[in-house]
Amino acid sequence: MRRRDLALAFVGLLVAWQLVAWLAKVNVLPGPWPVALALLHALPRGLGLHFLVSGWRVVASVVLAMVTAVPAGLALGQSRLFGRLFSPVVYILYPIPKIVFLPVILLLLGIGNVSKVFMIYLVLFFQILVVVRDAASNLRPELLYSVRSLGAGRRALFRFVYLPATVPAALTALRVSVGTAIAVLFFAESFATTSGLGYYIMVESWGRLAYPEMYAGVVAMSLLGLLLYFIIDGLERRLAPWMFAREA
């Protein structure tokens, strides 16, 4: 995807937004210009801080999920014993919507950062775990035979085969679930808290009918998602360059 195409798409979306705002003519739907002004106005007056708080929460959950789910997924995918023991547990837990545990988590971990980070972590953990497990267990036997025949034992297989094989899988899982993570964050921040973009949108703006400010919050949350998406994209290009190599 070229930068120019991205810029064109961005402008196109702005134009569409403006058109809808003109046609609707309601104050619940301001155009991009007043929202941009509100964003610039609000950023140094609290919104910036809320952005950082939310960003910190997502990044902390993502890092936590990666460092726990990748090894766990590798263990499940690589070891038949682990797989047999824990796969049924994962099978039952995976489809449960983790967000329903939010009330319990709030009660147990309080209304601060810990509960939000844990909530998002819970959602991400299972997404990444399952994808990494499948990537590790779906490795072609020919590849494992070949590397084992070079004298590789378990340690070397882990280092040179399983780990690199799961990097793109983990990043793909992350890319898919980063949207979910921010949605969960929004929900978790929209009550029983005093900081974060969810709080800013629902309590500080929507609550007092300040629509341009509310949209400034929405834009900030979208930017947060976009930023994370870009970072994951960059990581993928850096850590999995063969995925982008042109075929012969």
């Binding site: 072609r140 020919e142 590849l143 035979y145 070949s146 590397v147 084992r148 025949s149 070079l150 004298g151 590789a152 034992g153 340690r155 070397a156 280092r159 040179f160 085969v161 690199p164 094989a165 990097v167 999995a240 360059p241 063969w242 190599a245 042109r246 075929e247 012969a248």
Partner: protein, 288 residues
């Protein structure tokens, strides 16, 4: 003796045996081809020798040692998918060097039967093998960016870098186009002569078996109870392919395969008739 197989029996779980009371010997430095119909156990035999499968009964030794796990001094080249997709050509070959460093503490003497890869391989040796296999220009390409023939050259370079005394190849060239296939067959013969490595090429292709194997093991339908060997002293000469002797040998091998199929069919009928176990019908051929 490079490979010694005595009274070997092997079966996959819940399946009839692929080998039963099977014996076979390979001397050091020989170039063998193993041929037989699909499902006859050619690849299984290779995996057994590679230490990737364990016999259910009988003895199997390589360089006089049993093979409970793959040994680094046996090279294994498969039809495809043997290269790390995330590593460049250079990195794929250099994997042997990195493995050697990882297991430095365990690395045994550089010769003989080594379970772990050599610890004394340097980057210059990686470069030299890339050059020898004609893939030096591709060093920074990923496997999905190069042709099938180039991928097999990479796999061969990687295997030879660890200076194996046994090279096992499982249908190594069967997914290549005709010209690349002949090219790599010739190259393999050259390398076999240069290094003196014992080679075993599993193939379902009669011409390939006759061109590459100075001795040919013919397997029939499972269970294989008997090593049926055809000697083919003309193989290994680059010009062999054009000679009448080559075509004669191809015809002989084809007849042997057909006879094997008939013998197997007769054997199946005989077993079905619940006759007592006896020696199976045997066609001609110098069993070792």
């Amino acid at each position: 003796m490079m490979i010694g197989i005595e009274a070997l029996t092997f079966a996959y779980p819940n399946q009839p045996p692929v080998f039963q009371d099977f014996s076979w010997q390979v001397a050091a430095g020989e170039a063998w081809a193993v041929i037989g119909p699909s499902g006859c156990g050619k690849s299984t035999l290779l995996y057994l020798i590679a230490g990737l499968r364990q016999p259910r009964a009988g003895r199997l030794s390589v360089s006089g040692q049993p093979v409970p796990r793959p040994r680094a001094s046996t090279g294994l080249i498969l039809q495809d998918y043997g290269l790390l997709p995330w590593a460049t050509v250079w990195e794929n070959v250099a994997l042997v060097m990195r493995l050697g460093r990882l297991y430095r503490a365990k690395s045994g003497p550089p010769d003989g039967s080594r379970p772990y890869p050599r610890a004394d391989i340097g980057a210059d040796q990686v470069d030299r093998w890339l050059l020898r296999l004609g893939i030096a220009d591709l060093r920074d390409k990923f496997p999905n960016q190069i042709s099938g023939g180039q991928r097999q050259r990479t796999a061969i370079a990687r295997s030879l870098l660890q200076q194996p005394n046994l090279l096992l190849m499982d249908e190594p060239f069967s997914s290549l186009d005709a010209l690349s296939r002949e090219d790599l067959q010739r190259l393999t013969i050259e390398l076999q002569r240069e290094t003196g490595v014992t080679t075993l090429v599993v193939t379902h292709n009669i011409e390939e078996a006759v061109y590459m194997g100075r001795r040919i093991l013919v397997l029939g339908r499972a269970p294989n109870t008997h090593a049926w060997v055809i000697d083919n002293p003309g193989a290994g000469a680059p010009a062999y392919r054009g000679r009448p002797a080559y075509w004669d040998k191809c015809a002989e091998l084809r007849a042997a395969l057909e006879a094997g199929a008939e013998a197997a069919a007769a054997e199946t009928a005989r077993v079905a008739a619940a006759a007592p176990a006896a020696a199976a019908t045997e066609a001609s051929g110098g069993a070792s």
